[in-house]
């Protein structure tokens, strides 16, 4: 192969890190798989976002909101006592738990609310599982005076009563979804039905890097603030790039947000941690990248948990935010090209990490983020003390104390 050819191949691969391609694909993944009624809305959003994302004023507005409303930048914190437990590389925590509303989700809803405002949509809808994205959506809707409807599986409404009440306080209408498995995937189906019915007036704020193009792209762009800050902070704190990044992956928005600004840095190893539930080998888990196959759901082609007939399977995880049978298409692609490695940890391992961080650092992490912590501890033990791991502490664990206390047999 000539030098020119080599160069062009590298350039293509690197261009794809800025992907998706013009038709919304990351390799064979992604795309636009929705009913015809929604096609025009999806195409319009793509057009508007491509135009706005070239406008520096749009990003200035976004940055202002992140600074003054969300409280960014979030710190990069050296967890010294956790590092001692790991017994190897230094473990740094990217503190997304300190954001307004307590998780990374707000980065995305701030960005999409700006899009809704620009497009003149008076009504926003969202799906939510644990309620974190629902709260983040209700929050920005309250701030902008937008009508807000949040779809939530009926079982999740029962399990997450506190977040349901928070959304109602914020003025949102929470709609329990009784169909299918009554969880996050069914909430997303119902939100898509609402969108098709009210497409003229409504902006759909999808909570993760899934859905039809352009959602996986624009949600990533809004969440990439995490990785951009982490890059800068790594240079300030330890004078180099991290040796490894670790983040939990449900739909994958906090993970892609951390990973994306580092994709071109070959020296940085990247690990996405899926919810292993009772263990991937038991089939009771939520780890489509570890144990799924490519298919089409909710607007994109990606790895899915489905049976031999192509029916979507119910998932199992102690963490409601990871309890989803699909994953963002960019992760599916990063897995296939080998740029990121996807692993899983079990409910038990995540709960151990939850307790460990609480006791060792005085930080109660979200159960989602506890999956990343559990893997980071294992990884750190295989690395040298002068090496650095950045873990995305994507959310705080206050919302999970009922789940954990129930496991401990305590009624609050």
């Amino acid at each position: 192969m000539s030098a020119t050819e080599t160069e062009s191949v590298v350039k293509t691969a690197q261009d794809l890190f800025d992907g998706p391609d013009a038709s919304g694909h990351f390799g064979r993944f992604g795309g636009v798989f929705v009913g015809e009624t929604l096609m025009a809305a999806v195409e319009e959003l793509d057009r508007v976002y491509r135009q706005l994302s070239k406008d520096p004023q749009f990003w200035r507005d976004f940055d202002e909101d992140l600074k003054h409303y969300v409280g960014r930048p979030s710190p990069l914190y050296l967890a010294e006592r956790l590092t001692e437990v790991g017994g190897g590389a230094k473990i740094w925590l990217k503190r997304e738990d300190l954001n307004h509303t307590g998780a990374h989700k707000i980065n995305n809803t701030i960005g999409q609310a700006l899009l809704a405002k620009y497009m003149g949509k008076p009504r926003v809808i969202a799906e939510t599982g644990a309620g974190q994205h629902g709260v983040a959506t209700a929050t920005v809707a309250a701030r902008l005076g937008l009508e807000c409807h949040v779809y939530m599986g009926a079982d999740d409404v029962q399990r997450q009563a506190a977040n349901v009440y928070r959304m109602k306080l914020l003025g949102a209408n929470v709609v329990p979804v009784e169909s299918g498995s009554r969880t996050l995937k069914d909430a997303m189906n119902e939100a898509l039905r609402d969108w098709a019915t009210n497409v003229d007036s409504t902006y759909y704020i999808i909570g993760t890097v899934a859905g039809p193009h352009p959602y996986p792209m624009l949600v990533r762009d809004f969440q990439a603030i995490i990785g951009r800050e982490a890059r800068e902070q790594s240079q300030e704190e330890f004078g180099s790039l991290p040796d490894a990044l670790v983040a939990c992956v449900g739909g994958g928005s906090n993970a892609i947000g951390l990973f994306h600004p580092f994709l071109r840095d070959e020296s940085v190893a990247i690990y996405g941690v899926e919810a292993g539930g009772d263990g991937v080998e038991t089939g009771r888990h939520a780890a489509p990248l570890s144990d799924g196959k490519p298919g089409v759901l909710h607007g994109n082609r990606t790895y899915l948990m489905s049976d031999e007939n192509g029916q979507i399977l119910e998932t199992h995880s102690v963490s409601a935010g990871l309890d989803y049978p699909g994953v963002g298409p960019e992760h599916a692609w990063l897995k296939d090209i080998g740029r990121a490695k996807y692993v899983s940890v079990t409910d038990t391992e995540a709960l151990d990490a939850f307790r460990l961080l609480t006791r060792k650092e005085g930080i109660i992490p979200a159960l989602e983020s506890s999956h990343a912590l559990a893997y980071a501890l294992k990884l750190a033990a295989t690395m040298r003390p002068e090496q650095n791991i950045v873990v995305n502490l994507s959310g705080r664990g206050d919302k999970d104390i009922h789940t954990v206390s129930a496991i401990d047999g305590i009624t609050l």
């Binding site: 195409e43 299918g180 997303m188 019915t197 490519p294 007939n309």
Partner: protein, 272 residues
């Protein structure tokens, strides 16, 4: 000439409108579905749309969602749907059958396997609601080779640019979605639908049929007057649901499909 094309051409010559019922395969079971299909033909159905049950039917309203759930409880998969078609074909070699559903069951079977098995079973066309033309470049040529028609939806929101692509790649007929929403919702503005369908017919030689929200002879005749035919889904599936009710006398198949006979009578009367 494909069975669909032949059927619609004959209807056009006769000055009659196409009546296309939709039912979910395997609701409430395989045997009932095949019997209902024959009954529908006896009641005057010209083409049958057979729904492939899917766990996440995000373009469907509550009635068809429940139909799919009933079929899934029986473990109905795409291969069983194809078996039902093959069984129907043992007695009926004339009525065209269109499989309607979502893409993932086809992905799980594999496109090539699906197309070859569908052809063998006697399927005439496929309509995949979450597969727009832009994502059809693998399945479309396989269907063409096997002479399976590929039917696409046109919605009230479809732009002119999209419309020309859809017309170019469709065969069999074009399915105009009468409303913004999901299956089974209430029909809205007639005038607007008429304008859209007229404009659509100016863009294609293919027959245009209207679906979503058609629930009785009146709404069927109103939509048929401006198009080449109508699709009746939720209203029929709601009646078929009676077959799953426990603790009461089950309706006969003819009682489930009586609506189709009524609509047939209404359509033919209007045509005369």
């Amino acid at each position: 000439m494909s069975r669909i094309k032949q059927t619609l051409a004959t209807l056009r010559e006769q000055g009659r409108k196409a009546l296309i019922p939709y039912l979910v395969a395997g609701d409430p079971g395989a045997e009932e579905t095949v019997a209902l299909m024959h009954q529908l033909v006896a009641d005057g159905a010209d083409i049958i749309e057979l729904g492939i049950p899917f766990s996440d039917p995000s373009s469907d309203g509550p009635v068809i969602q429940l139909g799919a759930e009933r079929a899934l409880r029986k473990g109905t998969g795409l291969r069983h749907v194809l078996e039902m078609v093959a069984e129907f074909r043992q007695q009926d070699n004339n009525t065209p059958i269109v499989l309607m559903g979502y893409l993932n069951p086809l992905e799980a079977m594999g496109y090539e396997t699906f197309v070859s098995r569908a052809k063998t079973a006697g399927v005439d066309g496929v309509l995949i609601v979450d597969m727009p033309v832009s994502e059809a470049n693998e399945l479309l040529p396989l269907c063409r080779e096997s002479e399976l028609d590929v039917i696409f939806l046109v919605a009230p929101t479809t732009t002119d640019k999209r419309l020309s692509g859809i017309c170019e790649h469709s065969s069999g007929y074009i399915y105009y979605v009468s409303l913004k929403g999901v299956t089974g919702a209430a029909l809205s503005d007639h005038g607007d639908i008429e304008q859209r369908v007229t404009s659509l017919r100016g863009n294609t030689e293919l027959p245009v049929v209207v679906g979503f929200g058609i629930k009785d002879p009146d709404s069927a005749c109103a939509m048929a007057a401006i198009s080449d035919g109508v699709i009746v889904g939720s209203a029929l599936v709601e009646r078929i649901a009676g077959l799953s009710k426990s603790g009461q006398t089950l309706p006969t198949y003819a009682e489930c499909t009586a609506l189709i006979a009524d609509i047939r009578a209404g359509l033919d009367q209007t045509a005369r």
